[in-house]
Amino acid sequence: MSGRVIVITSGKGGVGKTTASANIGVALASTGVSVALVDMDIGLRNLDILMGLENRVVYNLVDVVEERCKLRQALVKDKKLPNLSLLPAAQTRDKSAVNAEQMKTLCNELKSMYDFVLVDSPAGIEQGFQNAVAGADEAIVITTPEMSAVRDADRIIGLLEARKDEIKEYRLVLNRYRPTMVANNDMMSVDDVLEILSVKLLGVVPEDEDIIISTNKGEPISGTDNIRAGLAYRNIARRIRGEDVPIMDLESKNSTWINKIVSFFNPTVRV
């Protein structure tokens, strides 16, 4: 078996890389394929918390690279999805603990075991980023509709383009999108972002308070029905698998069934 290694990266911190990694991982695994999530943010380990797997971590990525354990021993199985595993980062080390060559070897090994290997990249463009993209075949660039995040995404895309021999495809996920702000001209629209970045759009994820709740609970939102952000991530997963799913219409407020019912009886109420 040879899976696809997809790095999830952004340049800027705080735009939702780790949240996206967890959610895309869960959404992909829910479609039935096997998925390995790799946390490359060595020293700032977060992905295990979002997945709610913190208490199950025994070995980590650095232990594997330094051959203190077997790869299989370090992989933590998800609580709900048996075909989803997490390779946690080391918390007590830093980015220099591994190099690009070791990452390539690791990704190749994971590729032979899983359909999808999602690598959660750290922020920045230094060694951590270089390691994260080292073994990747594809990339997902996460940005928010903010000037600074778009600027950094542009920089990252430039760096990915320079590796086009290895990274065959890179697509954009626009995160934390707020249609009402866009309507008031207070936020860049999808078109504005794409005009600058000129990349393929993989998905748009609306800003959603439930994301924060799910992050704190350690249950990625894409496993939950009836939440728009969760649906957005499930759509992204289907697009990764090659399905042609139209981008969700975020401009209308009434797309969830509960809103539809509420607005049916009282069109002025917006939930």
Binding site: R151, R155, I196, S198
Partner: protein
């Protein structure tokens, strides 16, 4: 009369002719100063060195070749009217010829009002011009009618010597944040220049796409330089020593373009005008 002429013709190669110089010392000086400042435009072409009628010994020929080698010129052939000079180069195992290897074009120079710097050289009684902008100068070709001749840009120094300017640099890609392109001549970007990217040129800058980053034309003080783009939304533009910046109002929308515009210096300040076809 100019001391050095450079003529480039497709398939025939590039002729670097110092036949206008009367002494070897002069020829060497012009050769080194011209070639060093010229961005190696001859790369990938066959280079022919023209010596004219200067008499050169075997040792001096080696000196000429060493100098040429030092700036990256490896002449395949040497053209000279002097028999001893030809023998000297032959001794240095370089092919020689007594006839001009490429037919020098007869060029009628029609300099537009803007005054494009150009150079003239006298080779075998023919007037040869090496000019800056092929499209702006009418030419009559000796051998082939109506074939435009790619001519390497050059300008005349105050002392009469010519300096070859590098050709236009084409960059066919979108420049993203953090990417920088600088060039000694004119710069053409086919693609966008995104915020965070920088482009610099001693001459003009043309962006066939959206210019949203920083552009600096006329580096070194050329106030005639222009910046033009299909969609001019830069963070900052600089021409020679003038700087203009974008308005302070935050920009959120990028999807609507401005239409083609040109930035140039008018009365010491950068002005932006809609592009009009005259």
């Amino acid at each position: 009369m100019s001391k050095i002429a450079i003529i480039s013709q497709p398939e025939q190669g590039v002729l670097i002719d110092v036949g206008g110089c009367s002494t070897l010392k002069e020829a060497l000086e012009h050769l080194s100063s011209t070639l060093q400042s010229s961005n190696q435009f001859w790369k990938g072409n066959k280079v022919i060195l023209g010596i004219g009628s200067i008499e050169i010994t075997v040792a001096q020929a080696a000196q000429v070749l060493a100098l040429a080698k030092g700036v990256g010129v490896f002449p395949e052939e040497v053209y000279s009217k002097n028999e001893k000079t030809r023998a000297a180069f032959l001794e240095n195992s370089v092919k020689v010829t007594s006839t001009l290897p490429m037919s020098l074009p007869k060029v009628k120079v029609d300099i537009p009002a803007t005054g494009i710097p150009f150079a003239e050289a006298d080779a075998e009684g023919q007037k040869v011009a090496v000019q800056l902008d092929v499209t702006m100068i009418e030419m009559e070709h000796d051998t082939v009618e109506d074939t435009p001749l790619p001519v390497v840009a050059a300008e005349v120094n105050k002392d009469g010597s010519t300096v070859v300017l590098p050709q236009v640099l084409y960059v066919k890609q979108t420049l993203r944040s953090g990417q920088v392109v600088s060039h000694k001549g004119d710069l053409v970007i086919v693609g966008d220049v995104n915020p965070g990217a920088e482009i610099m040129a001693e001459g003009d800058i043309t962006v066939w796409g959206s210019l949203r980053g920083i552009a600096h034309a006329g580096i070194g003080g050329n106030t005639e330089a222009e910046i033009r783009a299909l969609n001019l939304q830069p963070i900052q533009i600089r021409i020679a020593h003038a700087i203009a910046r974008a308005p302070d109002r935050p920009r959120i929308t990028y999807a609507n373009g401005t239409g083609p515009e040109i930035a140039r210096i008018v009365e010491g300040k950068i002005r932006i005008q809609k592009n009009k076809i005259d």
